[in-house]
Symmetry: C2
Subunit: 352 residues, 2 copies
């Protein structure tokens, strides 16, 4: 078992365990588990056994599976169920599922009675490496992704690595995009671990690799809890990623969109005379083998980039690399962003 303390106020803790929920420690007298139904089917019995050991009574609130749960309607429905079951301020809201489940459950925890304790049990690699640390919570609007939410730090995020083996390999490879991104940002050994032949749920070094990816995010979040500055580097690849997700109506998974977005940003950085990380981002695309999204015109995606949170009246913000593990924030004009689009599409065709 690996523990990664996150020095925030109040403090947060991440635990990574090869199997089981033994490291989970809920201290509130009552808990509500907001659960992805498929995750609950597989891991509910083990989780209930742990709550029984802790002596904490639990109610289970199943929500729609995956991104479909991140609506204002589902948010209101979960809040209403908590209220009607008489949950009070000393409640623990616990998420069991992927990043989407955690985004919804965290928003519920951050706003029910203006905030109750939150615990998250990610069952996907993406959820472990990205959503479990940092306190970003959100729901989507018809107009775009993650447009409403709060910062609400979990008291504990517990990664039970055995949950990863119960999901398709493609879901694991999607989550590896965030691991790889954290490597590019701060840890070259992490990039090598991800690109090692056969990297997957059965990797003997998985606990160390996942913990290393979480640690990169934990350190960034400690330095910048509200994403006022440096933490924005974690958005490397995400400007195009969010636009691709919106453009495809989420047919493209988040981790796939991020893999494309990282390569696009790498091409953009090189075109502006910055560091060249295109070999790395191309190698990751070859490992992940993301789904296709057609060959849209840049203008068709640009409308979605304009709606991203990482935009203000002065232009698009992109995280680009000044050197290896040296990210920085740049403003990019629509003309600069459009100029590398043909090369990006050509690379995507070559990898297909």
């Amino acid at each position: 078992m690996t523990s990664i303390p996150v020095a925030l106020d109040p403090p947060s803790l991440v635990t990574v365990e090869a199997a089981g929920f033994d490291a989970l420690n809920v201290t509130e007298p009552r808990a509500a588990v907001v659960a992805d139904p498929a995750a609950w089917d597989r891991h509910g019995p083990g989780l209930l056994a742990r709550f029984s050991e802790l002596g904490v009574p639990v109610e289970v609130l199943p929500v729609a599976s995956g991104e479909a749960c991140k609506t204002i309607e589902e948010y209101g429905r979960v809040l209403g169920r908590l209220a009607s079951m008489g949950f009070t301020r000393d409640t623990a809201v616990v998420s069991l599922g992927g990043g989407a489940t955690s985004d919804l459950a965290g928003f519920v925890a951050g706003t029910f009675l203006r905030g109750v304790a939150f615990y998250t049990l990610p069952t996907t690699l993406l959820g472990m490496v990205d959503a479990a640390v940092g306190g970003k919570t959100a729901v989507d609007l018809p107009e775009g992704k993650n447009l409403a939410g709060v910062f609400h730090q979990p008291r504990q995020a517990h990664a039970n690595l055995a949950t990863l083996a119960t999901l398709p390999g493609a879901v694991f490879r999607q989550g590896a995009a965030e691991l790889f991104k954290h490597g590019l940002l701060a840890d070259p050994a992490l990039c090598r671990a991800v690109l090692k032949p056969g990297f997957g749920p059965a990797d003997p070094d998985l606990e160390a690799t996942v913990a290393a990816g979480i640690a990169v995010k934990a350190r960034a979040v400690e330095r910048d809890p509200r994403e006022a500055g440096e933490r924005a580097y974690l958005n490397f690849g995400h400007t195009l990623a969010h636009a691709l997700e919106a453009f495809t109506g989420h047919a493209l998974a988040h981790g796939e969109a991020v893999a494309y977005g990282m390569h696009y940003a790498a091409l953009l950085g090189r075109s502006l005379g910055l560091a060249d990380v295109t070999a790395e981002t191309r190698a990751f695309l070859a490992y992940q083998r993301p789904g296709a999204f057609g060959q849209p015109r840049f203008e068709d995606l640009a409308v979605f980039m304009g709606r991203d949170k990482k935009t203000d009246a002065r232009g698009w913000r992109f995280v680009l690399f000044e050197g290896p593990q040296r990210p920085a924030l740049f403003r990019v004009t629509p003309e600069q962003a459009a100029a590398v689009w043909p090369e990006f599409l050509s690379d995507v065709r070559a990898l297909a």
Copy 2:
């Protein structure tokens, strides 16, 4: 003009002015005014003139009038309009209306893109004295009032006292309940100012009286921004008040429910051997003349008290007085709470 700085991080400012919006100072490049339609009809032109002076372009988003705007549906609709109009992180969300409008607009501001700048322009006495300071925002659920929300401090709350004269006298007297409550908590001169014959929107000392009421709340919020302790004293009268509002389906206004709730809490405190403030709370009821709510059994209200945020698994929390201007928090059993109900109903009948 009176300025009341609120020393929070980031700092908040309250300004009180006999008439107009000249003290309002919005620094963001674009603003969205979430407006009660009646308030907009009366005060929209003056507000637009001020934004024109400031050089800040404005969009107006009318919402349902009063408490009816505080739903998850209206919340989602306002968020969607902000998104579809392309608002970004450097947006000012401005509330124009009473406490309910401010509660909704503040929740929108606190969660849109995980938080943008918030300004509030209360047009009711209740909104000026209560909702404008402290950063509490919320919407209601079918299961109860204010069950979802966040703490999000306004950059500025500006009270234009001329708005008060455009509302019925009963609305002013409802808001006076919070002023009077702040006097009981910390400022006996404020209690005397409210009970002075003829206290109303034309009172020549109104600016000083409103500013004194705001100052009591501002000092409490500074000492306890997240309502972790002392600030809970501001909930004097609110445990029963929220139950009465729910029981009557909000036929009783918040300020009326608080007037009843303060007198009930005063009777409860006296019955437990604490300080006797029943003469003061009875005198305020006589001034306010709140609407009737029938003569329900205690059990019919108790179910709503159990849902209040100020409740946990160990009992009901009531703010009671240990001495004049010496509030403290007490746990009260259902039996103790029920014991003073007949006397409360008898006092209410006598005042009718």
